[in-house]
């Protein structure tokens, strides 16, 4: 039920936007976001964008494994 999937914001039209989910484009309600811009990756739940994905944070999380392995060696 709380499933939400990421997609790339392609267009903004007032409170809605067109989001591309790997080739499937759908109108998404953007009214729960403070601000967003074309090119942002948004996480979409039941037709509403609920957050913008942060690439820097994603890379930091991926780096956790390397850090953990380093502390074990």
């Amino acid at each position: 039920m709380c499933l939400a999937i990421p997609g790339r914001l392609e267009e903004i039209q007032d409170r809605n936007g067109i989001v591309d989910f790997g080739g499937v484009r759908r109108t998404v309600d953007l009214s729960l976001l403070e601000k967003c811009k074309v090119g942002d990756y948004v996480i979409v739940h039941a037709g509403f964008a609920i957050q913008i994905l942060d690439e820097k944070d994603a890379l930091e999380t991926l780096d956790l494994l390397r850090q953990l392995e380093a502390t074990m060696d």
Binding site: M1, C2, D29, L33, H45, G47, Q51, D54, L65, M72
Partner: protein, 358 residues
């Protein structure tokens, strides 16, 4: 943005190897409270990668599974007599005290399944009479309904509000001793809305390790590693899903929820009443309450169907495969309990992924 490394078999296996190296000898029992987490755990075989002393159990993380007959039955009555009832697909097949919305529709009740509350608004046909949205879900979903209420509705559009809150439910269940666990894997998308702060109480009051996790296999294994580390080094709230969850959450969504809803005590199906774990419309929006509008009487009922062990499954105290009905009398095609109906229900997930949750 390339998120594929979070599904990388090589990285997941490296993380699992690391987990095996750091795991203590004693048994540790971690609970998640999200059907989407259980989907990842079962579908990707995460349990089979864990050391035998690490147990991951599913808690009450399927919102339609904990929606009571006292909410489903009125929705059926409204669909039969008063209005077209729109709801999410997960809710459609869940049995109330005698039938589901799906069965009611087969008998002529006006029920429509939608992906989004905005789709329900677009589909309103004023000629067909009033419309009611059966609004279920946790904090992830409640702001969507708040948003459409705030921005204006078509004429004769009302709501059955059945939203539930995860952090107060966790507090109540831990406080009553009904769940005994060594760590909590918190739901990433509920947390996207509420942020990290509402979980601090779990650390302060109960000393329980807490991790907020994403939904890819690597997210889950990294989160389990974090809980094992906290078991040794001390409990804290760690945000593994920082690419989506900010400490303050989504403030606009929370503000909208606060404008439209107020917190109330709530019955959870198979569990009973949990203090401050639900939402209802504020007084100024009471004209949107379908139960009042159509004068539908409700009778308090949070029982599971007879013979069904979903109440134990929801608290992580019974693996679905140990329920005598599992995969015999109770299957996705012919479900007895709600946990076999929804795609977020633990029984259905286990059934679809080999029957053992791994």
């Amino acid at each position: 943005m390339d998120l594929s490394p979070f599904q990388s078999r090589e990285l997941v296996e490296r993380a699992a190897a690391l987990l095996r190296r750091i795991s203590p000898k004693e048994e540790l029992r971690f609970m998640h409270v999200c059907g989407t987490h259980e989907n990842t755990v079962a579908r990707f075989g995460i349990r089979s990668l864990l050391p035998s002393q690490i147990k991951v159990v599913a808690g009450p993380g399927c919102p339609v599974c904990v929606t009571c007959p006292s909410e489903i039955d009125p929705a059926i009555e409204i669909a039969r007599k008063h209005a077209t009832v729109f709801t999410y697909g997960d809710m459609f097949g869940v049995p109330g005290s005698s039938m589901s919305l799906r069965e009611a529709r087969a008998e002529g009740a006006k029920v429509k399944v939608v992906y989004s509350v905005s789709d329900a608004i677009k589909m309103v046909n004023p000629v067909a009479g009033p419309s009611t949205f059966f609004s279920i879900g946790f904090e992830t979903t409640a702001p969507l309904t708040a948003s459409v209420i705030w921005s204006g509705l078509p004429k004769d559009f009302t709501f059955i509000v059945s939203h539930r809150l995860i952090p107060p439910a966790l507090v109540a269940l831990l406080d009553s001793g009904r769940i005994e666990i060594d760590g909590v894997i918190c739901p990433g998308h509920v947390s996207t809305i509420v942020g990290t702060h509402p979980y601090e109480v779990l650390v302060k009051e109960f000393g329980i390790p807490v991790v907020i996790s994403g939904f890819e296999p690597l997210d889950l294994v990294l989160s389990i590693i974090e809980l094992v580390k906290q078991h040794k080094a001390g409990a804290r709230v760690f945000n593994e899903y920082s690419r989506c969850v900010k400490p303050e959450g989504n403030t606009r969504a929370r503000q909208l929820m606060d404008e439209v809803f107020e917190v109330c005590d709530m019955d959870w199906r198979g569990i009973g009443s949990l203090p401050s774990s639900g939402l209802r419309l504020r007084e100024e929006f009471s004209d949107l309450d379908a139960l009042k509008e159509f004068r539908v009487r409700t009778r308090r009922d949070s029982n599971m169907p007879r013979g069904c062990k979903c109440s134990q499954v929801l608290l992580g105290s019974l693996p679905p495969a140990e329920c005598p009905l599992f995969a015999s009398r109770c299957t996705p095609d012919s479900p007895v309990g709600p946990c076999m109906v929804s795609s977020e229900g633990t029984c259905r997930i286990w059934f679809l992924h080999g029957g053992r949750g791994s």
